[in-house]
């Protein structure tokens, strides 16, 4: 059931860890959902819920880089934490290389731990300030049963791999490192369990441009060397375009558009994606786009707008948008070349005046 007909993935290198074959997606996310309760009052009762991640489905092919973009607070980090099992999901399934994760029959959590690792957003709190970085990196292998000596050797090898001289850096504490060096340590730590899929949550966002370029190059090199798959989360659209094969656009806990990177950037279908890209271009007056850029703050995810969640800010909003939520289509059954958008304007016969006419059978 999980096997799907897909176009050949970008890199389909042989990997002894492979179980499902090259066409089996590395990870399938099926209808995942997380509402955070907001508690208040003396009895600490749940008074409302933050719909941080609301019914998200997508897949990542082996060897590809899937970029995830969206405004601050749209649920990108929560999605990453759900995939990592750091936050318990309310609903939905994860299928890792053909095996259901976490359920009684599927891959045990420990297997997921090895296959999936994450580089965290905030490089300030992502490293234990009281541990020398060598120990921070060696911790994972030790937990998984390596002897202290083996784990240390592994940590040193990884430090070299991410471009840090082990002799100089092994005994240093995080506050003695620059932001770029810290992010290299974070990457080394994530690689220590020999993962297949790396989730990078704003991995380069806090770095200045030249260091950012170095770390991006490093990530590209590592991906080839270690046969990795990336989920790359960022709000920087330039970086996402540079590194991604496909892009997923999030708005208020939902996917609004997904497709190959060039199609998303050259022919965005969803007004939200268009606005995001317009914001990016508006730096240059020559290229300023006429479409209204994003106005105002995103609505509160506690009480998202009815119908299409973007309708409060959308220049093309019509009655149907308030009444009915536009679907994205069946993402899991689509091919990697498909370009899907959750907007009534792209769905034939949706009732929106700009929608294409229904195709006659």
């Amino acid at each position: 059931m999980t096997q799907m007909a897909l176009s050949p993935p970008p890199v389909a290198a042989e990997d002894p860890r492979d179980r499902g074959g090259p066409a089996q997606p590395m990870l399938i996310v099926d209808g995942i959902r997380k509402y955070f309760p907001i508690r208040a009052g003396v009895l600490n009762r749940t008074v409302a819920e933050v719909k941080a991640v609301d019914d998200i489905s997508f897949y990542v092919l082996k060897g590809e880089t899937l970029g995830i973009v969206g405004e601050s607070g749209c649920g990108k980090s929560t999605l990453a934490r759900l995939l990592m099992h750091l936050v318990d999901r309310d609903e939905g399934h994860l299928i890792l290389d053909g095996d259901l994760v976490g359920e009684e029959t599927g891959v045990p959590l420990d297997g997921l731990r090895r296959a999936l690792q994450m580089v965290f957003q905030d490089s300030y709190s992502s490293l234990n300030p009281r541990l020398p970085i060598e120990q921070s990196i060696a911790y994972g292998p030790k937990v998984q049963g390596a002897s202290s000596k083996v784990a240390k050797a592994q940590a040193r090898a990884l430090m070299e791999k991410v471009g840090l001289k082990a002799n100089l850096f092994a005994q240093r504490y995080p506050h003695e490192l620059s932001g770029g060096q810290k992010q290299r340590v974070n990457i080394a730590r994530a690689l220590a369990l020999d993962p297949r899929l790396l989730i990078l949550d704003e991995a380069v966002s806090a770095l200045d441009k030249s260091v950012e370029a170095q770390v991006l190059n490093l990530l590209e090199d590592l991906k080839k060397q270690l046969n990795l798959t990336y989920i790359f989360i960022s709000h920087d659209l330039h970086v996402v375009r540079y590194i991604s094969d496909r892009v997923l656009v999030m708005y208020l806990g939902q996917v609004v558009e997904i497709g190959p990177v060039d199609q998303i950037y050259e022919d965005p279908q969803h007004p939200y994606t268009q606005a995001l890209l317009a914001c990016r271009l508006s730096m240059d007056p020559e290229e300023r786009v006429e479409a209204a850029p994003l106005a105002g703050d995103p609505p509160n995810p506690v009480n998202p707008p009815s119908g299409c969640r973007f309708h409060t800010r959308c220049p093309f909003m019509e009655d149907v948008c308030m009444a009915k939520a536009p679907g994205l289509g069946d993402v899991l059954r689509s091919s990697a070349d498909d370009h899907l958008a959750a907007c009534h304007m792209v769905h034939p016969g949706s009732g929106h005046s700009r929608a294409p006419l229904p195709v006659r059978a």
Binding site: R113, R114, M118, D122, S125, R130, A170, H175, Q181, L218
Partner: protein, 300 residues
């Protein structure tokens, strides 16, 4: 790749040093303490007080319990009585040295016990959050709601006197504040990404607590606990003063202060000596904990 270049550039100045000489955390703490002369002086003073208490039997010129009706309430420096004598004619210096044993014990042991117990509850409450936190912290709040002196009096009143009961009383009084500090520090650490990174490796909660949480919670808790030593000494003296602690004729600073207070108009200086000892010791402990706090405060 520009990477290698950037890395060798970044490394260049450090490389001239033979090996990576990097201080450990405690090495850094010591480097900062070294030039803090007030703290160093107070540490020396505390060591002196502790040593004098430990070696009291060898240092004391007289038997602290031997009274003499002929030499009651002698002034400071009277003949061989360097600090005078008390209302029963016992040598003040000897009693002060012996009394330090009880007072220091009362200052240090309850704080250590309370740090262990309160720290453990605080870390558990802070790490697990939610219901566990509610259960532990609300219980602590009940104890915390009473003024510490009142609580101490109430507990030791029901337990009865004696050294062990007094230490137990003080421990119970000190657990809630330490627990609160440990809980706050832990819940801060718990939300840091490195704890999630550790969870993502599949580590057990015990391993995470010992490797990642305790090490970060330790210094705020230790610094706070060191401020409690003086409070504990004063509370213990207070209990003895009220007759709820050790009983006469045991030499104890609080008790000495209590029995000498009737003689305050006869020999004011002699009567003040135990008070001065309590004051000096507690100020020394406070200054040391102040210095420790500054020295342990790494800018990460």
């Amino acid at each position: 790749m520009t990477d290698a270049l950037a890395n060798s550039l970044a490394a260049a100045p450090v490389q001239s040093a033979p090996a990576a000489r990097v201080r450990s955390y405690w090495g850094g703490v010591w480097q900062r303490l070294r030039y803090d002369y007030v703290t160093l002086f107070c540490i020396a003073l505390i060591i002196l007080i502790v040593l004098s208490a430990v070696f009291a039997p060898w240092l004391a010129p007289f038997d602290p319990y031997k009274s003499s009706m002929a030499h009651r309430l002698r002034p400071i420096g009277y003949r061989q009585f360097l600090l005078g004598t008390d209302e029963q004619g016992r040598d003040m210096l000897s009693r002060l040295l012996y009394g330090g044993r009880v007072s220091l014990l009362m200052g240090i042991v309850p704080v250590l016990l309370a740090t262990l117990v309160g720290g453990m509850f605080g870390v558990v409450a802070g790490y697990y959050g939610r219901k566990v936190n509610m259960g532990i912290m609300r219980t602590m709040d009940i104890f915390f709601a009473f003024p510490s002196v009142l609580l101490a009096v109430a507990i030791s009143g029901s337990l009865g006197g004696g050294i062990t009961n007094q230490m137990l009383t003080l421990t119970v009084v000190l657990i809630p504040p330490i627990c609160r500090v440990a809980e706050t520090a832990t819940s801060q650490v718990r939300n840091m990404d490195f704890v999630d990174a550790a969870r993502a490796t599949g580590a057990s909660t015990t391993s995470i607590l010992f490797t990642h949480v305790l090490i970060n919670v330790m210094s705020p808790v230790l610094v706070y606990a060191s401020t409690l030593v003086s409070i504990s000494i004063i509370l213990a003296s207070g209990l003895s003063f009220l007759g709820l602690g050790v009983s006469p004729p045991t030499a104890d600073w609080g008790l000495m202060l209590s029995t000498l207070r009737q003689s305050i108009y006869v020999q004011p200086l002699v009567s003040a000596i135990p008070g001065v000892a309590i004051l000096v010791t507690s100020i020394a402990f406070n200054l040391v904990s102040d210095g420790l706090r500054q020295a342990m405060d790494v800018k990460a």
